[in-house]
């Protein structure tokens, strides 16, 4: 017990700090008895005890903690895109090869379709121009050969354009 009055300020600092350390090392519900005859130190110790009661081990109620947690979960999901795991080198290489493969595959499909369309047009044109007898008007049909050719060309052109449009819409 400190029994002398008029403590020097530094001594008072040390005694109060020591008292506070002892009090804070105790459980929340425990208090230390005031251990000074010095009125100034005693008043300071009383305030320290009050502060411990008011502030130490203070927690929000479980209801409030849960309410905040729910709001934070929503906020986390909103911000989650920013925190997606950065892909490693191997993952990035795989992605690159995958997209390259898809691109090659897609361009092969497109080339094949275009080639097929071009060959089809050429074959029909060659057939029409080289062997017009093959497209002689069929009995009962009003059109002559000279009327057949542009109609077939237009149909083929429409077919090719349609094919190209379908391929473009898949991109």
């Amino acid at each position: 017990m400190v029994e002398y009055n008029d403590l020097k300020p530094q001594r008072l600092d040390d005694l109060l700090a020591e008292f506070t350390d002892r009090l804070m090392s105790m459980n929340a519900s425990e208090d230390l008895p005031l251990d000074s005859q010095d009125q100034e130190l005693k008043a300071l110790q009383e305030t320290v005890i009050l502060l411990k009661r008011a502030l130490a081990d203070e927690r929000p109620s479980p209801v409030m903690a849960e309410r905040i947690r729910r709001s934070l979960s929503v906020e986390w999901k909103r911000a989650d895109r920013k925190y997606q795991k950065a892909p490693g080198l191997v993952d990035r290489a795989k992605d690159f090869l995958g997209s390259l493969g898809q691109s090659v595959q897609h361009s092969r499909q497109r080339s094949f379709a275009l080639s097929f369309a071009a060959v089809a047009v050429l074959v029909v044109l060659v057939v029409l121009l080289a062997a017009p007898e093959l497209v002689e008007p069929i009995t009962g049909v009003a059109w002559g050969s000279e009327e057949w050719v542009p109609a077939v060309i237009i149909l083929l052109a429409l077919f090719v354009l349609g094919l190209l449009w379908l391929l473009r819409s898949k991109d």
Binding site: Q10, D21, L50, L51, R53, L55, P60, L72, W76
Partner: protein, 185 residues
């Protein structure tokens, strides 16, 4: 006050930075009492929950900016102070004197939490809380660091770049000022 068992704050931050919600949740559990306590020392009771929540939202938004140059607790303290400053910048400050409404609010809360029925102490605690809000910032900070964050005087001295003697002296002057205000309360 913080359980320093594994994983460390920094390990949790690294996991949270790559999207582990569970890691962030652990940080939230670990620091909620400190953030709440710190906010409660400076913000009117009616807005403590909102500001506490805003602090953790700021953590979510700024987490990828944390570069491990300081301790997480130090960084978090800066965020709390920034949110408190934002609060007072954007909202009309409350009447600094203890209002009847605030006394009622805190009395109700403290009565619910208390089991010993020591109403005189309850009143003193309420008055003390209000007096704490009105202390100069350096006085309030040393009290918050010791009682809310549970730092030892050596840690407070290191944190504030002061000698241990200067820190203890600051603490004693802070307590003396608070004591007078409570007695006059």
């Amino acid at each position: 006050m913080i359980d320093r068992g594994s994983p460390s704050d920094e390990d949790l931050v690294r996991l949270a930075q790559v999207g582990e919600l569970a890691a962030f949740d652990t940080l939230y559990e670990r620091y909620l009492p400190i953030v709440f306590g710190r906010v409660r020392c400076v913000i009117p009771e009616s807005d403590v929950e909102d500001v506490t929540q805003e602090v953790f939202i700021a953590v979510i938004k700024s987490l990828d900016g944390f570069r491990f140059e300081a301790k997480f607790s130090t960084w978090l303290r800066t965020l709390v102070n920034r949110q408190v400053a934002d609060y007072y910048r954007t909202r009309k400050p409350q009447e600094p004197n203890l209002s009847i409404e605030l006394i009622g609010e805190e009395s109700e809360r403290n009565t619910k939490l208390s089991t010993d029925g020591d109403f005189e102490n309850q009143d003193n605690v309420i008055i003390l809380r209000q007096a704490l809000k009105q202390l100069p910032e350096n006085y309030r900070e040393v009290i918050v660091l010791r009682f809310v964050e549970g730092l030892r005087f050596e840690e407070i001295a290191r944190l504030q770049g002061q000698s241990l003697e200067a820190t203890k002296s600051l603490f004693r002057r802070a307590i003396a000022t608070l004591s007078k205000r409570v007695q006059n309360g």
